[in-house]
Symmetry: C2
Subunit: 390 residues, 2 copies
């Protein structure tokens, strides 16, 4: 059995980043930058007022003569001379001659005369040209998955479009004659295929484009037909074990399926296939919904990140244990758990039952306690590693 870390390495080594495409900034959120994004101009483009107030020369004293007003977007075209002032607003260009702004709260305004109750100094309440960034400066580096603030920053840098990584197309197919779709007639003793419903939004959130083929019957032909799909990654759900009816491996054999590995030292989720079907990488996730989703977090997420050119590391955090845990076996355990904060430290309690078919428990968990193989027994307060679930 392969370790989790080795399996991730084998999967990501077998994949490479896709090409790039240009998108409008409106569509850039959640996309991964394919090249460093650089500002197209200085921000601010000139000295601007940080306040509603008055442009003054800091060397002057006493009342000033009001010679004009410059709303933001309507610069004052003259020059501020000795003992003169111009009305400004937040974001207004500071006119020539002035080197400070006094706030309107500190001004008493007569007809064309303004007295101030505060003293200026050079640069007071002025945002200097280029204070936020300069033309040509890198705003966001290649490989960044763009968040909301990033997109706002790119807009501020005057970028109407950006080059982002193409999104890998991920095709999902569940296998199993016991499966039906929600609301459809159920099979005798059968269950509803649920994993794909959880996977679709996760795959989209991770930056790929999911396409769900639904349920394939447990017949070689149906499964072998996957070889014809146009996609960057095939993901099968179920059928990855060694039972006589776990058909994914055998069905794909005839289509030039090159198996890399199929057994991982982890729980939940031991049976998992990775290989290549002609040119298409194939990840065969286990069928129990909890195993499916945990394996997706551990293996599908880094696979997608690799195709997007994004950095990846398993997001483990330190925590302390509530309750006790027995010594563990040969597999790396991912225990569904609930956490709480005590004095800024995360404390985690494993759920009592860890069967990989219990989706309801999984839904209320907020983290996984990650235990390496052959971990010793643990007591209340011992250190553990956790992976938070969104």
């Amino acid at each position: 059995m392969l370790s989790v870390d080795k399996a991730v390495e084998r999967i990501t080594d077998a994949l490479k980043p896709l090409g790039s495409e240009r998108v409008n900034l409106e569509d850039a959120f959640g996309r991964t930058l394919a090249a460093d994004a650089r500002a197209r101009f200085d921000q601010p483009p000139c000295s601007v007022s940080a306040m509603d107030g008055y442009a003054v020369r800091s060397a002057d004293q006493g009342p000033r003569r009001l010679i004009g007003a410059a709303p933001a977007g309507h610069p004052f075209t003259g020059k501020v001379g000795a003992n003169e002032t111009v009305r400004l607003f937040t974001g207004s260009q500071v006119p020539d001659g002035a080197d400070a702004v006094l706030a309107q709260e500190d001004a008493r305004v007569g007809d064309d005369r303004v007295e101030f109750t505060a003293q200026p100094y050079p640069g007071k309440f002025i945002r200097a040209k280029g204070q936020d960034f300069l033309a040509g400066q890198m705003l966001i580096p290649q490989g960044t998955c763009l968040g909301a603030r990033d997109v706002a920053l790119l807009a501020a840098g005057d970028l109407a479009q950006v080059d982002v990584q193409q999104r890998p197309v991920v095709v999902l197919a569940a296998t199993g004659d016991e499966l039906s779709l929600p609301g459809a007639p159920r099979k005798p003793g059968g269950i509803v295929a649920s994993s794909a419903y959880g996977l679709m939004p996760l795959i989209a959130q991770w930056g790929a484009r999911p396409r769900n083929l639904g349920i394939l019957p447990d017949r070689s032909e149906a499964i072998a037909a996957l070889a014809e799909e146009k996609c960057d990654l095939l993901v099968t759900l179920g059928g990855a074990s060694v039972g006589d009816h776990d058909l994914v491996r055998s069905a794909l054999g005839s289509k030039g399926f090159a198996l890399d590995f199929w057994k991982i030292a982890m729980r939940p989720g031991k049976p998992m296939i990775f290989g290549r079907l002609g040119a298409i990488p194939l990840l065969g996730l286990p069928g129990n919904p909890v195993s499916t989703l945990v394996c997706a977090l551990l293996f599908l997420r880094p696979a997608i990140f690799k195709m997007l050119g994004r950095e990846w590391s398993q997001p483990l955090k330190p925590a302390k244990l509530i309750g006790t845990l027995d010594a563990s076996g040969e597999r790396q355990d991912y225990l569904r758990a609930k956490g709480e904060l005590r004095d800024g430290i995360i404390w985690a309690r494993a759920l009592a039952v860890q069967d990989s078919s219990l989706l309801r428990d999984f839904s209320v968990a907020d983290m996984l306690i990650v235990r390496p193989p052959r971990a010793p027994a643990l007591r209340e307060g011992d250190a553990v590693k956790i992976m938070e679930l969104e």
Copy 2:
């Protein structure tokens, strides 16, 4: 000046949840349940095998006669009698008469005879009917924003559709003659309107439907025309201050605008309007992009949550301070900061410059340090509250 907490209260008190609508499960991710979701059948629907193996009677001893096989989805229709066994697979219905499953790894199979190297006990490797959930049981309560695991659970409960809260329509409009759109010709001394590009994805992520009107000129008529928009919440960006050219309040006065408040004791973000334009609530966010986005987190997010019927509390966490902070003034400060984990504790360092026009600094921050008004000076290691940024 109103406190942040009071302002949130005034805003959310003025709003109420919208109605519900029915959506397909494929479209349920990120939506808020409008009613408790209950399972439509027992899961599993019958006793099923947890392993690839053999159904046996636990009272029997010695080798068993193999009388059939039952792949998942193809139940065995007979009954397991004394010293008989039936081949099962993970998820197969356990046939009548059997009360345990032995794993295939512990079986030696002859022609129609199976010897076992492990002992059964009643219930061994059997997932009992209804072990995950029972028909009629509540799976997920009303008001839950559905995550990926929730959607999978609803699928497992055989729900093809669910009742969710309608998404509030939020209309955005930036004001300011100094503004241009990314890539468009820039105004003299002007800047690019950036906030809406950050707000659009946030509003969608929070569960609402954003519509961006772009930039309105600083003229009363243009702003007053907002009164004709069909939406659940109007959000203006900029123009919320008291300057002669901050027109939102004055322009809307003629259209029956009822002002609730417009000044909040916070930094960044003091000038903020809330009121009602006829039947439509209006939130006037400040124009500097950092202020806009921080105010959106603090006020727009709970406003949307209220219209979705979702619980809300400011997500503050304890942390320790890196560096020092001076005593603070009359306003609640939201300091852009970078954090790191040390021994499981979050440590936060405020960025050196906190000017609300610096979008680049905001983009690299990963949290805000939240300081109440008139907070004392703090030293390295002192306790602070933080709000993580996504």
